[in-house]
């Protein structure tokens, strides 16, 4: 409850600062915000678009959140997301029946994410390498690897700006407008993560290891295994984010500048912080993020420069992430003192 109020207060504060910035540069904050929320929630079509945009963010948010629960600072979602996207796309080279094709794509993408997370876990557990360092490095490897594959191997010969499109046998069916049944993958994984962390023995071990590794170890919990599990689950989730972005959203391909994958992985960190690193909070955080993204387009139509929109978005996101970020820093410092 307190967490909820804090986040709400931060949201209000962020909106006020954003308003002040817009007012300062001669824009009317009231109409701008009206445009934002109308653009995001104003009609069914807009709402569908908003939800659709939030779905991959749920998954990358989960990656960071489950890491934090295990006491990790896992910022590897970006690389795992890229790899998941490219592997899901490549599955389109196979020809399989409807439905099964999609399933195989998801399994292979998930495996790719898990494999990409494995060196992070092994380096940490056997050589004591901080996951922060190894994930940053692997993110770059994944970035260039993906770019290479997208441009050199998977591009559409007729359309230089993107890869080939995934075959229809592999696409998520449309629910309405932009929204597809990738909804089930995101929502399902978020609910699963919640159930796993709070109602499963292994999830309990992850949380115990994250809150107090020393006590967890003394009580016989295999802390290393818990950390490994949290990293691999994170890899799976992030890879699915990339996969559903390719399999569940127009253009059903990867653009040659990777723009339609964007910063999904890094944005997941902010999503998780807004959602207090709770799987259900992550759902809310992602929806909020999706709102800002969709609403921005409408703000643009009202003549607000894109830079200012991004500043306002940034201010709101940062102020909402601050309370949880501070809590994490305090927790980490406390653990180091011990």
């Amino acid at each position: 409850m307190r967490a909820f109020l804090e986040t709400f207060a931060a949201l209000v504060l962020g909106i006020l600062i954003g308003a002040a910035i817009m007012a300062l540069w001669g824009r009317d904050p009231w109409t701008s915000y009206a445009a934002l929320f109308q653009g995001a929630w104003g009609n069914t079509r807009a709402l569908m678009s908003t939800v659709s945009r939030s779905l991959p963010l749920v998954l990358t948010g989960l990656t960071f959140a489950v890491g934090v629960r295990a006491g990790l600072f896992n910022i590897g979602a970006q690389g795992q997301m890229l790899l998941g996207a490219v592997v899901a796309l490549s599955t389109g080279l196979l020809s399989l029946p409807m439905g099964l094709h999609l399933l195989v794509a998801l399994v292979l993408a998930g495996l790719a994410g898990i494999i990409w997370a494995l060196p992070v876990a092994l380096l940490k557990l056997f050589r004591g390498v901080s996951e922060v360092i190894s994930t940053i490095m692997l993110n770059w490897v994944a970035h260039w690897l993906t770019l290479f594959l997208v441009v050199r191997k998977l591009s559409d010969p007729m359309r230089g700006e993107r890869t080939f499109q995934v075959p229809t046998t592999m696409r998520f069916p449309v629910i309405q407008g932009e929204l597809t049944w990738s909804l089930v993958a995101s929502l399902g994984l978020a609910l699963f993560f919640y159930w796993f962390l709070w109602h499963h023995a292994k999830g309990f071990e992850i949380r115990a290891a994250g809150l107090n590794p020393k006590a967890a170890k003394a009580s016989g919990i295999p802390v290393s295994r818990a950390i490994l599990l949290a990293l691999l689950l994170g890899g799976l989730s992030a890879a699915w984010a990339g996969a559903i972005q390719v399999l569940g959203r127009f253009p059903y391909a990867i653009t040659s500048d990777l723009a339609n994958l964007g910063n999904l992985g890094f944005d997941g960190i902010a999503v998780a912080l807004i959602g207090r690193n709770h799987p259900l909070g992550v759902l809310a955080g992602a929806f909020f993020f999706g709102t800002l993204a969709t609403g921005a387009a409408r703000m643009g139509l009202r003549g607000i420069p894109i830079d200012m929109i991004q500043i306002v978005q940034g201010v709101i996101v940062v102020s909402m992430a601050v309370p949880e970020a501070f809590r994490l820093i305090r927790l980490r410092r406390k653990r180091e003192e011990k």
């Binding site: 949380r207 107090n212 020393k214 006590a215 967890a216 295999p222 011990k338």
Partner: protein, 517 residues
């Protein structure tokens, strides 16, 4: 005879605290309307349980904290120190539980640190400082080596340097916060002699402690605090252990369960030539051997930091070791904490916040730590309902005061946290219990609860390994006592042969022959 009409009224109080209230930012009321006086030339004991407010009060007097309301009078004048430095300049110095010494510096350099005259153009004259320190040493009887790096000195000697550092500033009021926690009984006696000397020279001392025996041995008067309030001020010669204990706790305590001699049972734990590496590569435990039998409490006494932590962590599987350890005839080599626990070993860690509990988890979650498998259902699902019933049962059986099974462990008092740990560990129905400092920092009632529980378990035939730096606890509970010093046992004695002096000498590193001689 004519009484002098104008007699100079002697200064009544050197320091006086009037109506001091301290409320911390989180709303904790640490002190409530506390009145406290120290006269010149007296040793004032400040007695109270953990959390009674002793340290808070002295931190206010020494300028480290400022009171929420109330006034401090120093030599009759109202003062408000904004830093310990100001208080020190006025003549008030405090030695904290955690020393403020620079490890690689020598004793003399540490004393000179921050001393006056240390400007760029007027370098500190170590020679004059040495003369003055030596003069203080001969005057007070407080001797310490001045030319060795302090990090190489035993804790007891470091404490002396810390006290010399304060005396060097010519304080008139010396405050010592639980100074005896790190000392052998002999060192305690020496410290007390020093404190008497300091008082005899007209200076005042505030001696903070929760140990009744010590406060009676060294003070002139005693102020007793309970839950942030002064519950009594007594002249030391006119009070007793019983009265002080009652003031401290606020209720009368029954007689402690007496330890009855008991035939010990079969051997449960056998340790042979155990070597445990320490943090710096040097072994922390250097080849010790002992056995623990069913129905006995084997006590390990010794000053903290002589390898006890490493010994226990090795036995419970948290640290690699060499040698032989057998539990019921099964070797523990290569086993982890979970496997060792499964063989029937339960562990009450010395650090209940760091190792015993996960403070951010609730009572239920903490109560199933180490026995998660008992609450697993289909596909590893946790059966929270039955876990909560189990937690409820622990709360009832060990009379744990908690708001409920969903209350965070952090919200429990120290005593109740420890009861939760103990209850959880005993619920594993172990063959042997390793209790490391099981009552450290607990209030009297909780201490008593735990100690009686240990005695009852022993009578019921459990093997217990008790590691404690608290000699009273060792004397009260143990059937056999080993004294640990720098990673070895300086002696193993049956309870009948125990006396304070002998154990004290062993704690200081003397061998059993020397101690007997």
């Amino acid at each position: 005879m004519l009484a002098p009409i104008f007699r100079l009224r002697p200064m009544e109080n050197l320091v006086e605290a009037r109506k001091i209230t301290k409320i911390y930012a989180d709303g904790t009321v640490a002190l409530r309307d506390v009145d406290f006086q120290v006269r010149p030339g007296e040793v004032m004991g400040l007695l109270g349980e953990n959390g009674a407010g002793k340290t808070t009060l002295t931190k206010i007097i020494s300028g480290l904290l400022s009171p929420t309301s109330g006034t401090i009078f120093w030599k009759g004048k109202a003062v408000r120190f904004s830093s310990p430095r100001e208080a020190l300049q006025a003549g008030i110095g405090m030695v904290h539980q955690h020393f403020a010494l620079v490890g690689p510096f020598t004793g003399l350099e540490n004393i000179a640190l921050g001393a006056e005259g240390g400007g760029l153009l007027s370098p500190v004259k170590l020679k004059t400082i040495r003369t003055k320190v030596e003069e203080i040493m001969s005057r007070t009887g407080l001797h310490a080596p001045l030319d060795a790096p302090v990090e190489e000195l035993p804790v007891g000697v470091q404490q002396r340097i810390e006290i010399l550092k304060i005396l060097f500033r010519e304080v008139e009021l010396l405050i010592l916060d639980e100074p005896t926690a790190v000392l052998t009984p002999q060192e305690v006696d020496e410290l007390f002699a020093v404190l008497r000397n300091i008082a005899a020279q007209g200076k005042s001392v505030i001696f903070i402690t929760h140990k009744l025996r010590e406060v009676l041995a060294v003070t002139d008067r005693i102020t007793v605090l309970r839950r942030g309030e002064v519950v009594g001020v007594r002249e030391t010669p006119r009070t007793s252990v019983e009265e002080l204990a009652q003031l401290m706790v606020g209720q009368e305590l029954g007689v402690l369960r007496q330890k009855e001699p008991r035939e010990r049972g079969p051997e449960v734990l056998r340790v042979e030539e155990l070597v445990v590496p320490g943090p710096a590569g040097e072994p922390a435990v250097r080849g010790i051997s002992f056995t623990v039998h069913a129905g006995e409490i084997f006590g390990i006494a010794g000053i903290q930091g002589n390898g006890q932590t490493e010994l226990v962590e090795a036995l419970v599987g948290l640290r690699p070791w060499n040698g032989r350890v057998e539990l019921n005839g099964r070797s523990l080599a290569g086993l982890g904490p979970a496997q060792i626990a499964a063989l029937g070993l339960a562990h009450i860690p010395e650090d209940r916040h760091g190792m015993g509990l996960i403070l951010d988890m609730n009572v239920t979650e903490n109560s199933i730590l180490g026995r998660i498998s008992a609450f697993q259902g289909f596909l590893g699902r946790l059966r929270w309902a039955s876990a909560q019933r189990f937690a409820q049962d622990l709360i009832a059986r060990f009379s744990i005061q908690a708001r409920g099974v969903r209350a965070p462990a952090r919200s429990l008092s120290g005593g109740n946290q420890q009861k939760l740990v103990v209850g959880r560990e005993l619920s594993k129905s172990p063959r042997i219990l390793i209790a490391n400092q099981p009552t450290r920092g607990l209030d009297i009632a909780a201490t008593r609860f735990i100690r009686e529980l240990l005695l009852r378990l022993r009578d019921e035939g459990m093997a217990i390994l008790l590691v404690s730096a608290d000699l009273d606890e060792i004397f009260e509970l143990a059937d056999r006592v080993a004294v640990m010093y720098r990673g070895t046992f300086t002696g193993v004695l049956p309870a009948e042969e125990l006396d304070r002096e002998k154990v004290g000498l062993l704690m200081g590193g003397l061998s059993l022959e020397e101690a007997r001689g």
